[in-house]
């Protein structure tokens, strides 16, 4: 089982957490306890209530041992800052972050960071719909 940390328990974070926790060891981190309540009883993982910008919280979540870190808050800047630090300081192997703004995606793209842009993905899918 791989060890996976998900920061941000919105719609995407929640769905991913529920899906991955079936087969992997998952920790979810959010600033809001309520946001994590929606995970419900089916969630087979750990929840941490805290501030992802606080490195001691990330360490408590086990960042040093994580196989993957997903940054899925709706705050681009927060996702970028945590993503970069995870890569630089902790050498986390897989860092996947959601960035909504395409300009920022381009600027902050660097080796080892997988930056996902929702709009870009949807456009790709829609384009393929007409073959």
């Amino acid at each position: 089982m791989r060890y996976i940390i998900i920061v941000g328990c919105g719609k995407t974070g929640r769905s991913l957490a529920l899906e991955l926790s079936k087969t992997e060891n998952v920790v979810v981190l959010d600033r809001s306890i309520k946001a994590m309540d929606v995970l419900g009883d089916d969630f087979n993982g750990k929840k941490i209530w805290g501030d992802g910008l606080d490195l001691s919280v990330l360490e408590e979540a086990g960042l040093s041992d994580a196989d993957a870190l997903y940054l899925l808050t709706n705050n681009d800047n927060l996702n970028l800052v945590i993503g970069k630090v995870a890569k630089r300081k902790y050498g986390t192997r897989n860092v996947i972050l959601q960035v909504n703004d395409i300009v920022k995606k381009r600027i902050f793209q660097e080796e080892g960071l997988t930056i996902v842009n929702r709009n870009y993905l949807i456009v790709e899918v829609l384009r393929k719909c007409i073959g």
Binding site: D51, L53, D54, L55, S56, N75, D76, N77, L78, L80, V81, K84, V85, R88, K89, D101, V103, K104, I107
Partner: protein, 221 residues
């Protein structure tokens, strides 16, 4: 100097006015449109730009590539870090300074290579602690993030240095007595100057020997 300040909150605004008063060219960026309009009307001589400075085009509008310093003073630490990173990496601004809102985020600023993160909360906490804990000692000024301190020390009756000349007093290394306030007089001391009870001494000291200095002059901490 040309200085770009991001965030027109209390800190950003006070800083902008202060720097303008010192004849620097100042540009202030904020993402609150109403506030920017108001500032543009009221603040003559400061360039006001409305926009989110975590987007490069907004920084470009501020001509940040010409800035000597970029100061990120918003209330969001992640935004401050991104602004400083953009200023440095994209526009080659030499010096970035940022306000650290939550002391727990200070580490992050360091890893993200912000040149001067200023942890105002910790600085204020230190000042408040000093004001609260010492009656006879007051910190007047901190220089170099508190490493050098100018302090005022009131000499009590029972102090071990009372009636001694400065020559007879062995001060810790890296501290120096600057002047003595005695009633209405201001004395710039020499080796022959004597210290009396109720003298107020102004001293400059490195922070690591501050407590030794206090101990020498008033006998306790």
């Amino acid at each position: 100097m040309y200085i770009v300040i991001v965030g027109a909150g209390r800190l950003g605004l006070v800083l902008a006015k202060q720097l303008q008063g010192e004849k620097h060219q100042v540009c202030l960026i904020d993402k609150n449109e109403g506030l920017c309009n108001k500032l543009a009307r009221e603040s003559k001589g400061i360039l006001i730009i409305f926009g989110d400075a975590t987007y490069p085009e907004v920084l470009k509008e501020a001509k940040i590539e010409k800035a000597d310093v970029c100061v990120a003073a918003t209330s969001q630490d992640e935004d401050n870090i991104i602004v400083c990173n953009l200023a440095k990496e994209l526009f080659e601004v030499r010096r970035t300074v940022a306000r650290v809102n939550d002391p727990k985020h200070l580490q992050l600023y360091k890893y993200m290579q912000v040149d001067n993160p200023v942890d105002s909360t910790s600085i204020i906490a230190q000042v408040v602690e000093e004001e609260a804990s010492f009656k006879d000692v007051m910190s007047l000024l901190s220089i170099k993030k508190g490493r050098l301190s100018i302090v005022r020390i009131d000499i009590p009756e029972g102090s071990p240095v009372v009636n001694k000349t400065l020559k007879e007093i062995k001060l810790p290394a890296n501290s120096v007595l600057v002047s003595i306030l005695r009633g209405p007089d201001i004395i710039v001391p020499s080796g022959a100057t004597k210290i009396y009870p109720n003298d107020e001494i102004i001293a400059a000291t490195l922070i690591d020997v501050k407590n030794d200095l206090i101990k020498t002059l008033i006998g306790k901490i």
